[in-house]
């Protein structure tokens, strides 16, 4: 067992955890942040994406002991109750959500894109989500959702009522 300090979604935790556990296990099994999804366990699908110290990572590929003193953002950190953020709004409005299993990771990938550039081209969006698989939508509406979210961010689009 090891002890680690971690800040997740703006809350500080001190956790005792098995050294064999991965970051995804820490988030799901210990903190019950089950919006972090496991699809492949080997870095292929991006369903387990979280933002670790500002960077999009696959939480299935990182050991828990590696994140001591880090700051993590999961999908649960983007909204408060039903008060959802602009990317989540755009995903709903553009119809970018089907089965929903890729959605948390996809929204965090979108956040990583838009945090750097509120005006991404479709090409940049596609590159930005290239580590996130979706088996349902065919990606088209996800790309549209991220463009729409960019519009909300830079003020060229306003929220639908």
């Amino acid at each position: 067992m090891i002890n680690l300090k971690i800040n997740v979604n703006n809350t500080d935790y001190e956790i005792e955890i098995d050294e064999e556990k991965r970051l995804i296990d820490l988030l799901r099994d210990e903190l019950r942040l089950t919006g972090v999804k496991e699809g492949c366990s080997e870095g292929e699908c991006g369903a387990c994406s979280v933002i670790l110290d500002g960077k999009l990572v696959n939480s299935c590929l990182i050991m828990a002991f590696q994140v001591n003193d880090s700051k993590v953002v999961t999908i649960e950190g983007l909204s408060e109750g039903d008060n959802i953020n602009y990317i989540q709004k755009a995903f709903i409005e553009a119809g970018a959500v089907q089965c929903g299993y890729c959605t948390p990771g996809m929204i965090l990938a979108a956040k990583a894109i838009l945090d750097k550039n509120p005006n991404p081209s479709r090409e940049e969006i596609r590159m930005g989500i290239s580590g996130n698989l979706c088996r349902c939508t065919g990606y088209e509406k996800i790309v549209e959702a991220i463009e729409l979210a960019g519009g909300y961010l830079n003020g060229t689009k306003t929220y639908r009522e």
Partner: protein, 409 residues
């Protein structure tokens, strides 16, 4: 008139839960003191087996190991009850379930699985469906490997082919495909406050799952509850039983909460595939480019179990001539058992594979007649007033011509 829904985009009812990460899939349920379950699966495609669980059972933390001995009616499958909850003396494919270990942690389950001794007496597998169809082939189930045969006859196709200006004869093959839905199978089994068996699972068929559990465990259907969580994609791959009966059996026997989560690899092993097909086509045409006849033999490799093969091969047969007017038709489609991964439902249900054959036949005929691929299609596509290969008069909307013209203009 203002319509409320038609012409407007409507938000999915569950999209708020999904964008916030609150939507629950079976792996997202955690219960204090729950147990874990894991499946031991065959590593050979065809073998006689002998199982010894004694050493594994003695491992600290192992609660119970379930095998064929524990299942009152060891058979499932909606159309054909040819699958076993746990294999008894024969495994018919790689991935066939042999035992279900229930233990205090997933890690102990894995250790116990290592300790179960399975003696495999390996048999030569039947992997080629054409071989499997032969009289003297080794039989996977019963006395024939042909589990389903669909015949379609219209006019006199053999004669019409003989009298055709040109006949294209070719063989087309499509391969097996996995649905690869993003959420691997998972489930929770428990007894509810009334003593009924409850299984939380992501399924396409809660009603059939319920019937199959009731049958396998020999219980009245009223005692079984299936709670369909959010379903992380399915595409036909959740139309068969995977862990439902295992969890129900464990919950009933142990009166504990049991959770089981498949890895991606186990998910590939556990559920069906798209049928690989071999399609032998002869398509005849007259001098002007009008189709005269199609003769097709379609062989679907259903692997070790039939699953939804009847529906899939029927649909392949019904759609064998595509969206074209064909006056003479002779189609035979077959579902054939082999020791390959089992095939079942997947988007299109058999209509998808045959398009590979009938559309390439059209291109080949067009080239032979020095006609454009669009022109030959415009001559032959179904229109209002056409009669399909199955004898249906199309008297309503058939906008194929519009479609073809608008994509080619």
């Amino acid at each position: 008139m203002e319509l409320k829904h038609i012409g407007n985009s409507i938000d999915r009812i569950d999209s708020l839960a999904k964008v916030t990460g609150k939507a629950m899939y079976p792996q997202d349920y955690y219960v204090d003191n729950m147990l874990y379950g894991k499946t031991l699966r065959s590593i050979y495609p065809f073998a006689k087996i002998n199982i010894d669980t004694r050493e594994a059972q003695n491992l600290p933390g192992v609660i119970r190991i379930f095998t064929h001995n524990d299942v009152p009616n060891n058979a499932h499958g909606v159309l054909h009850k040819d699958q076993l909850v746990f294999c008894k003396d024969i495994v018919r494919r790689i991935g066939d379930p042999i035992a279900f270990v229930v233990a205090e942690t997933e890690k102990i389950c894995e250790e116990a699985i290592e300790k179960i001794k399975v003696q495999y007496e390996i048999m030569k597998p039947v992997l080629d469906p054409i071989e499997a169809m032969k009289e003297d082939s080794i039989k996977i189930h019963g006395d024939s490997n042909i589990v389903y045969h669909f015949k379609l006859r219209k006019g006199d196709a053999l004669r019409a082919l003989e009298e055709s200006y040109f006949v294209a004869t070719n063989t087309y093959k499509t391969h097996s495909i996995d649905h690869a839905f993003l959420q691997p199978e998972a489930g929770i089994g428990y007894l509810d406050e009334n003593g009924n068996i409850a299984v939380i699972v992501a399924t396409q068929y809660p009603h059939y799952d319920r019937e199959e559990i009731a049958y396998c465990l020999n219980l009245p259907i009223e005692n079984i509850r299936i709670i369909n969580s959010n379903v992380g994609g399915a595409f036909g791959g959740r139309e068969d039983i995977t862990l439902q009966v295992h969890l129900a059996l464990a919950a009933k026997t142990l009166n504990r909460v049991i959770k089981c989560v498949y890895s991606r690899e186990e998910s590939f092993l556990a559920h069906s595939k798209r049928h690989a097909m071999i399609m032998n086509y002869s398509t005849g045409v007259d001098k002007e480019g009008y189709l005269t006849a199609v003769k097709a033999e379609i062989i679907g490799d259903t692997g070790a179990y039939a699953s939804w093969a009847d529906n899939v091969l029927r649909k392949a047969g019904v759609h064998a001539t595509g969206p074209y007017i064909v006056p003479n038709v002779m189609v035979d489609s077959y579902a054939v058992y082999t020791n390959n991964p089992y095939a079942g439902a997947m988007r299109g249900f058999g209509a998808t594979q045959v398009a590979v054959a009938y559309e390439q036949q059209m291109d080949i005929l067009a080239r032979e007649l020095k006609m454009s691929p669009v022109e030959i299609r415009l001559k032959n596509i179904l229109k209002v007033g056409s009669i399909t290969s199955t004898g249906q008069l199309l008297n309503n909307s058939v906008p194929l011509e519009n479609c073809l013209r608008s994509v080619t203009e």
